[in-house]
Amino acid sequence: MNVIKITVAALLMASLASAASFNTQAEKDRKALIAYMEKKFSDPAKNKGSFFPYSTNEELSKRFTKGIKRDAFRLGSYAYDKGGKSQYDEVMEMPPFEDNIDAGKALYEKKFANGKTFKSCFPDPAIAGEYPKFDDKKGTVVTLTLAINECLKANGEKPWKMKKGKMADLEAYFASASTEAGKKVHIVIQSEAAAQAYEAGKKAYYSQRGYLKLSCATCHVQGTGKRVRNEYMSPLLGHTTHFPVYRLKWQGLGTLERRIEGCNKDEGEKPHKPGSPWMSNVLYFMAYMSNEMPVDGPAIRK
């Protein structure tokens, strides 16, 4: 009997001890990614040989911003592309997504058939930086998109489409409220199962796929700051901070899920469905990489 008690106590202590360390690997990965990006963009012209072998000297010395620190990477390629940044600043003076934020606020306050509102699920709208979360009871990652649909279902409402429309509008309101409140990305890995979901997302992110045999990282880690045709590729660091995004290509607003589908297409792979474990795990990994960065959405991208 005593032996059992001791064993149980030892097990409990062991689990408490490791509770704080389920994110050890993720922290290591995040810090290394920040170190890589900051080093790469410390002085692009000087770093040509090691980081930008095929870029032109002119773009590296004149077009690129030097000495970019972590938080600035939330601007995507506009963090380093001066020309893109000035265009971005112009458009942001009168952003095309203002109406979407208003529509999102109205959706947040609109009563469901049962008389409740989204407030019953999300009392504070400034929560964009807290998702995705890992739900230990379900054993799966819950993205903001999935959480919104869960709320709808719990209140007897039909779930929404996950890529644009109402979903993007409500997320735009959440993002805007989070940005205004000065919130930061805060992703938690609180259990062994959560750490496994993170690792699955990381492996998917770095695995080459599709007929082009590209990984997400080919363009957004190693490829960051290089051009495909005339377009600069954006960094993984900060990627999830500013969604939903108004894309000129879409002529409208889209969720993270919509954007990742586009990346799958570019890799030549049949896109993974929004809400699929693949998609949610990848987003969990991506969001963790942006931990501690300011939420800065919605935003505009080409």
């Binding site: 990965d29 080459q208 007929y211 990282a217 030549g268």
Partner: protein, 143 residues
């Protein structure tokens, strides 16, 4: 001539085995995609059969290819239909932004592509096992 005979023996053994059981990741690691997808050597039906077997596995693994609106599955079914109809060309239809568009290929070309797409999708899963960490900063990727 000797090489040819040997190749065909290997191929027929390979095809014989795969017709008995579904394709596996281990099978994929050991095949030469150019050989099993060679329409002249294996016949168009043989190539499409290999494509179907490996694409079933690719779908299960969530790695099916898609090019310009057309999945490997559609390449296979539409090309099979063209072969049945003894058509020299296959037209692959797909929708983009609500509009119906199409690609037209020689039937042999479509079969060749379907087979390469199917086999390579699976082979890449094997390859990624040993290469993905090479791209992770702080892990296999040094900077």
């Amino acid at each position: 001539m000797k090489t040819y005979t040997l190749t065909s023996i290997i191929l027929s053994v390979g095809l014989g085995l795969s017709s008995l059981s579904a394709a596996t990741l281990a099978d994929a690691a050991n095949i030469d995609v150019a050989k099993v997808c060679d329409v002249k050597a294996n016949g168009i039906e043989g190539v499409l059969k290999t494509a179907a077997e490996y694409n079933a596995l690719a779908k299960k693994l969530g790695v099916e290819f898609k090019r310009k609106g057309v999945t490997t599955s559609q390449y296979i079914t539409d090309t099979e239909a063209a072969v049945k109809a003894k058509a020299k060309e296959v037209t692959l239809k797909y929708t983009k932004k609500g509009k119906v568009k199409k690609h037209t290929f020689a039937t042999t070309y479509a079969a060749w592509r379907a087979c390469h797409f199917a086999v390579r999708a699976v082979q890449q899963v094997n390859e990624a096992e040993t290469t993905w960490r090479l791209a992770v900063p702080g892990d296999g990727f040094k900077f």
